[in-house]
Amino acid sequence: MSFKAFKRALWVYHLNTGSCNGCDIEILAVLTPRYDAERFGIMLVGSPRHADVLLVTGPVGRQMVPRLKRIYEQAPDPKMVIAIGSCGLEGGVFHESYNLAGPIDQHIPVDVYVPGCPPRPEAIIEAVVKAWVKLEKVEQGVS
């Protein structure tokens, strides 16, 4: 990864598709003064229409599938999707339940996967940086 500086700030939108909140409070902890992601320019926004990166947690329950697809379509291109937590990868510990509709990448394309139950805040920051680099490459037209 060789880059001089990020060209602009990165706006992030968080979506919970039915998780236990463990990953969600670790995402919140990334913004608090201890880990402080805002000094890198990462900011959480309240609407998917302003977002560059979507942070998706949780095993996808049946009721949440339409909402997941709708929010993905509302976010403008170019965008990155990060699946946080083991639940988003294959269902985590709930993988055989009757109320799950599949992991996240069966419904929307995912760019970065973060395993862990829950993953540490440092791992989440690294995932966002990886997505950032990928996003800049996409914008510059490099494959």
Partner: protein, 413 residues
């Protein structure tokens, strides 16, 4: 002139808008101008079928780790109650030292959960600096939990018949240092939350729940105690090491002298409980007996005992949000549990929401809803819907949050 009733459906996110705790709780409110007339709740978005998994796929030891992931914030409460229930059903009695270690971990979790809630409540009123302060202060207890138990969140300390890791002599100085830090800043936290004029104006006489309603609607935990129902499992039917400590349920009259049942009383109860938790941990560290920490260290033998056991048991624990109950039934010859029923405290506290919100203003909805400390994933998500009037218009959660901040700004002028 008849008042025009406007039916509005709001999607209200519980928890701070800008960070992660956005649980889609849909409250359909019927409003009359600015006043709320009726509320309906709809639940179900986080239903993952945990009880079914415990009854059909997991053996009892694997179900401990499943119970841990019912909720990521109170991830010590559910294993605690579950392990108590299985021990009553199978007739296993854990050693006394294990009971003391369980209590120490549970009280540490209570401190972390109440500080988390304090930050969320400040954010709903509009004080983002207090939100950042509360979460920064919380990092100290997260470091302590990582030092003692191995991880910040899901700790895997519980086992049927005891605990899996011990608290050794070398760890004691660091634990005491962290507790001293909390004792030294407690008065500062109290001043920030209880003596501030704007917080008093926004929270006094808002979201009132009377004692009689709290008793009928089966409210428990700090929400019920703030309304005068002095019910606390640690005081009434104690278990593990609580039976040796004399714990008193905290009601708001220790500070203000009367019980009103509004949001301000709930802040009082939770802050004073943080102080009580610090004292409990210190008392446990002083009085902890020596001995084993597990009745049966070998897992294969333990599984064998559980497969042959027969009986039923009820395990209860006072979680940071209220009373958690697990009911377990074991059948001989069957590797999975025969019946498993979980009840989380938000399950019953949600039924108090219509009473709390009725008659109030729309701008008070975020803080009044957050004051019961809802852990929606514990409840399997509840969505509350109430429709009554004719016109429909949708306000997003962000607009609702901004209404709440606007009210604070108006009060300050």
């Amino acid at each position: 002139m008849t008042m025009e009733k406007v039916e509005t459906t709001y999607t209200i996110p519980v928890g701070p808008i800008h960070p992660a705790l956005k649980e889609p709780v849909r409250l359909d409110l019927s409003v009359n101008g600015e006043e709320i007339v009726d509320v309906d709740i709809v639940v179900g978005q986080v239903h993952r079928g945990i009880e079914w998994l415990g009854m059909n796929r997991n053996n009892p030891i694997q179900s401990i780790y499943l119970a841990e992931r019912v909720c990521g914030i109170c991830c010590v409460s559910h294993p605690f109650a579950f392990v108590e229930a299985v021990e009553h059903a199978a007739g296993i009695i854990p050693p006394e030292r294990a009971g003391y270690i369980r209590v120490i971990i549970a009280e540490m979790e209570r401190i972390h959960s109440h500080l988390l809630w304090a930050g969320v409540a400040a954010h709903e009123i509009g004080f983002d600096t207090v939100f950042y302060l509360a979460w920064r202060v919380r990092e100290e207890i997260m470091d302590l939990m990582e030092y003692v138990a191995g991880n910040r969140n899901t700790k895997a300390m519980f086992q049927i018949g005891g605990v899996r890791r011990d608290i050794t002599e070398e760890q004691l100085p660091k634990i005491r240092k962290s507790l001293d830090y909390y004792k030294s800043i407690f008065n500062q936290l109290k001043t920030v939350f209880l003596d501030d004029t704007t917080i008093k104006m926004r929270t006094k006489n808002v979201g009132i729940l009377k004692t009689e309603d709290a008793l009928k609607l089966l409210t428990c935990g700090p929400t019920g105690r703030a309304s005068g129902v002095a019910k606390d499992v640690r005081q009434d039917q104690p278990y593990a090491a609580y039976a040796d400590l004399d714990i008193k349920a905290i009601t708001p009259d220790v500070i203000t002298g009367t019980v009103v049942g509004d949001v301000y009383d709930r802040i009082i109860v939770r802050l004073v409980e943080v102080k009580q938790s610090i004292e409990i941990i210190e008392q446990c560290l002083d009085e902890m007996p020596s001995g084993d920490i597990l009745t049966e260290p070998k897992i294969a033998k333990l599984l064998n005992t559980l497969t042959k056991a027969e009986g039923e048991g009820v395990g209860r624990h006072e979680a940071p949000r209220g009373e958690v109950i697990h009911y377990v039934r074991l059948e001989p010859g069957r590797e999975t549990l025969s019946t498993w029923k979980i009840r989380a405290p938000t399950y019953v506290n949600l039924m108090a929401i219509p009473t709390i919100l009725k008659g109030g203003q729309i701008a008070d909805v975020p803080i009044a809803f957050a004051s019961i400390d809802p852990c929606i994933s514990c409840t399997n998500r509840a969505v509350i819907v109430d429709k009554r009037t004719n016109k429909k218009s949708i306000l997003s959660g962000k607009e609702l949050h901004e209404l709440s901040i606007e009210k604070t700004r108006k009060l300050k002028c």
